[in-house]
Symmetry: D2
């Protein structure tokens, strides 16, 4: 049984709702970065021991939240010792607009994974992009690098779209599947 | 009166429909990159003489079309002589999904403009990203770096969303306004 | 006389050394983001009043430092009211390697500027990239989107390369020049 | 024995010299994209049958060459049928400057791999970034997402730096190793 960790920051709960679905799909432990950008010592140990790490953050002002970045900067200790090398990585981000520069955040997450010497798992789900497509469809935003989800500026946590949640579940399953093949 | 050029490649006509609106807003000349990635000699001269250049391309497989890139590569002659330095630049791209990795194309367009020593004009329109927002709204995709538009995979050229076309018009107007201030 | 602000975070002083040269070239006020990611209330007011804002940060783990990002996230208040719209922007970043994923940071800075509706000034200096080029040359790293500088992992603040410092000075001058043309 | 393909375009031979080292390290077949952006029908079949695909291109004007992009656009047929899903991917790019916006090309390569539903292998080699580092060192440019190499504007094909060539060899070996674990 592989150890998979979903680690995320969530400002208002929407990203957390997505993270829970990714974790469900991957059968993963979910670690929350707190409002000050910190996690506990035993959570750092769990990350060191993990086979796969899935990175999640809202997109604020066109990039990962500062709390997520504080975690990323603190991971430089693990980087220095190569403790996360060859791990499987994936990533996801949520914002209020369909695009909203979420891609820049995904690029930053993928780069962080690469700095650690990781192996990145793409979304692997075709887009639902015909005229008939709705937010209830899988990958209706047309992501590929990782998971992108959307919660309108006035949407409650309960209103994250069902299509986004299913996409999150499937991405979690995919990461678990790739990890099982890579890590045995 | 400033000289502004909108130069674009369009595979199936959707990007061209957007380009025409940008050109209308900017009171610009529209140059079409042909199916072989070429433009005419006098069109190169017009680009050299322009105050502002707006770059447009569909997003195919996560980046600008090869025809657009052939134009970009050929602009290395102008680059070598610094002929496009200090010009005003903007950019736009269209694809079938709301996201669809269009941001990667915008990054490439912005980088091309920077290689030429250009000055980049962002979209400058707030996103329409509440629950009530529809494709008829201005900037309903939530772009910021440049103009992003969407035409579903089965949409005809006539079906480019009215919100996207208005956004294109406004971006053209904005580029003209910035150019007038910069170039006098 | 235009008001230009260079705002930066610096972890160990190298980025600050670069920032001082940019500020010298632009005849700008330098605001330092502190170790907790904060700036003072009057500094926010100065940013609101500025004609141009130049963003600086080290690149840590492939993106801007968390302290810089905390500042960026806090700028969402200015964003919400459109207070920084149409300002001139530029950006710079420093890290220990020639590349070191600094480009990802520049993309993030440029995206932040675009979210605010800004106008971005590229570096505008040709690369020094022949066999004879040394770190004493202007733009020896071959940047274009903004200013990239390098201080080896064991270099002191005094050892930032002279070529990088001259490049910083020239970029500051260029930003002042574009601002003067745009803002009158 | 896994089937690995290195596919690249090379304008003047420098990227090809790097590609040969990657192919040597990965024990891979090398396919050259021709000056018109084409490859042969049997080469497309070999790509469909491959376990891993390593993408290589020079960086021209801040992105992959148009010939490489023509290949990428033509891969939309394989994309449409999901023929390259779950393959292992890696990428490399060469330009005349240490930075030279090569990162934008790597982002484009990584995005292309993600569109195909691939699994991306980072460089996985620590940077040589102290004051004593020279172009003879492994990863002296400080890449992480993929392989970045540099050949000065006036360097012959024989003058690609020994450090870059060793880095290329190691990256090829790493891709082969990850492929063996994933594909069995």
């Amino acid at each position: 049984m592989n150890q998979i960790i979903v680690i995320c920051h969530s400002g208002y709960g929407h990203t957390k709702a997505v993270a829970e679905k990714v974790a469900e799909g991957a059968n993963a432990r979910l670690i929350a970065i707190d409002a000050n950008g910190d996690i506990a010592a035993d959570e750092w140990e769990a990350l060191d021991a993990a086979d796969a790490i899935v990175l999640g953050t809202p997109t604020y002002m066109g990039d990962a939240s500062w709390q997520f970045k504080k975690f990323a900067d603190a991971s430089s200790k693990a980087w220095f010792e190569g403790r996360w090398a060859d791990k499987v990585f994936g990533g996801f981000t949520n914002s209020a607009s369909p695009s909203g520069d979420k891609q820049v955040t995904l690029i930053a997450l993928q780069t962080l994974a690469s700095q650690h010497g990781g192996i990145w798992v793409s979304l692997g789900l075709p887009p639902s992009n015909t005229k008939a497509a709705t937010p209830a469809d899988v990958n209706h935003l047309g992501g590929s690098v990782g998971l992108i989800t959307r919660s309108p500026a006035d949407a409650s946590v309960e209103e994250v779209s069902p299509g986004d949640l299913v996409t999150a579940l499937r991405y979690g399953e995919r990461i678990a599947s790739v990890t099982a093949r890579l890590k045995g």
